[in-house]
């Protein structure tokens, strides 16, 4: 590999003026600067219209349904890991036999129910944002009624795969550690994956 004098690197890194170099070093400097210059032409293409078409696309109308169901009582289950699924099934079985509990709401064929559970001791607020809220906050706020650090919330979602994150205290984004499945979020981190299935009839 061609040896580049450290002085040339220092000039290219802005730590030294170019006049500190010898004639041979300046040749190396010029060759690299020419290469960078050749690569600096801006493409003529534009993706602006394509991106703005997506930006202007109306958000899916799940917000109203989410708000509605957040104010309703419901029994639900979405499994995450086998051991948690069993525990959750036991809890739900107990809930189902409590007298006076309202029946589950009627759902569309392409709707299912998702329950979010996260352990965040000391948190002042926990909410869920995801592909189903268009990553906007404020639609799904979890509750910790027992003040035991376990935050819960249940919503109706379209059947299929969704990405989501917990937002703790309005600023800390946390992937659900119990989700079991994750997908690259494009920022070097991962979103949790949720699979919503139709309710068995």
């Amino acid at each position: 590999m061609t040896h580049i004098d450290p002085q040339v690197h220092r000039v290219l890194d802005g730590e030294l003026p170019a006049d500190a170099l010898t004639a041979a070093q300046r040749e190396q400097l010029a060759a690299l600067q020419r290469a960078a210059q050749v690569l600096s032409d801006l493409p003529r293409a534009s993706v602006a219209s394509r991106v703005m078409a997506e930006v202007r696309r109306p958000a899916p109308g799940v917000g109203r349904r989410l708000t509605h169901w957040l104010t309703e009582r419901h029994t639900i289950s979405i499994s995450v890991r086998p051991v948690w699924s069993l525990a959750l099934a036991a809890v739900l079985a107990a809930v189902a036999v409590i007298p006076g509990h309202e029946p589950a709401p009627v759902l569309g064929d392409q709707e299912g129910i998702a329950q979010f559970v996260g352990r965040f001791p000391g948190a002042k607020s926990v909410e869920v944002v995801g592909s189903f809220t268009d990553w906007q906050s404020g639609a799904i706020v979890l509750r910790d009624d027992n003040h035991d650090g376990i935050w819960r919330g249940t919503v109706v979602l379209p059947v299929g795969q969704h990405e989501y994150m917990f937002v703790v205290d309005g600023e800390r984004w946390v992937a659900d550690p119990l989700a079991g499945r994750y997908v690259d979020d494009g920022f070097g981190r991962e979103n949790a994956l949720l699979f919503v299935r139709p309710v068995a009839r």
Partner: protein, 189 residues
């Protein structure tokens, strides 16, 4: 170093932080300012990384849409530029991992020089082809480091934000990329 951009709009300049705040407040059209400000550099970066304009346009479009949808998670809007390069860089890595050179179609190939081009243009196209060929013999990590430093003009601090790598690692990659590139260019003066 913080190189937050400002753009003249009417009688004053709008910072990245202000544009982000407007978008988050519901003014989706303001995202067009972000696109205008960074689209050119991002397309150039993606094109040099991937080697094919169509794939680069896909990576940038996907990246910008994701940026819009996740804008609330941009914790420091003053560093929007490096955040966008990070998103598009991840899209490029994803493209590179999915697609080998043998998958590329002729439609994706860079345009051949037009015979009606002037001599100067033809010479420049030849230079471009030579440098691009040399660039694509570098590993993606070295190529990314060279492009971010010398073509996109990011500081090492911004590069660290854009790549998630440590500054000494990035300096080493840039130094090695310079040496490798120079050697290749010297073979074809």
């Amino acid at each position: 170093m913080n190189s937050q951009r400002v753009l003249p709009t009417g009688d004053r300049e709008v910072s990245d932080s202000e544009v982000v705040a407007r978008v988050l407040a519901g003014d989706a059209e303001a995202f067009g300012l972000i696109i205008r400000r960074y689209e050119g550099g991002l397309l150039r970066y993606a094109t040099r990384m991937l080697g094919y304009p169509d794939a680069a346009a896909d990576a940038v479009a996907e990246g910008l849409v994701r940026a819009y949808r996740h804008l609330a998670s941009c914790r420091d809007p003053a560093r929007l530029k490096s955040w966008l390069y990070r998103i598009v860089g991840n899209r490029c890595r994803s493209h590179l991992s999915r697609r080998s050179a043998s998958d590329l179609s002729l439609e994706d190939a860079p345009p051949l020089p037009d015979p009606s081009d002037t001599e100067a243009e033809a010479e420049r196209a030849e230079q471009m082809a030579l440098v691009e060929r040399a660039l694509h013999t570098l590993s993606p990590e070295k190529r990314e480091a060279f492009l971010l430093k010398h073509v996109e003009g990011l500081s090492y601090e911004e590069m660290a934000e854009a790549t998630g790598e440590r500054i000494p690692t990035l300096k080493m990659r840039v130094h090695r990329a310079r040496a490798a590139l120079l050697e290749l260019l010297e073979e074809y003066p």
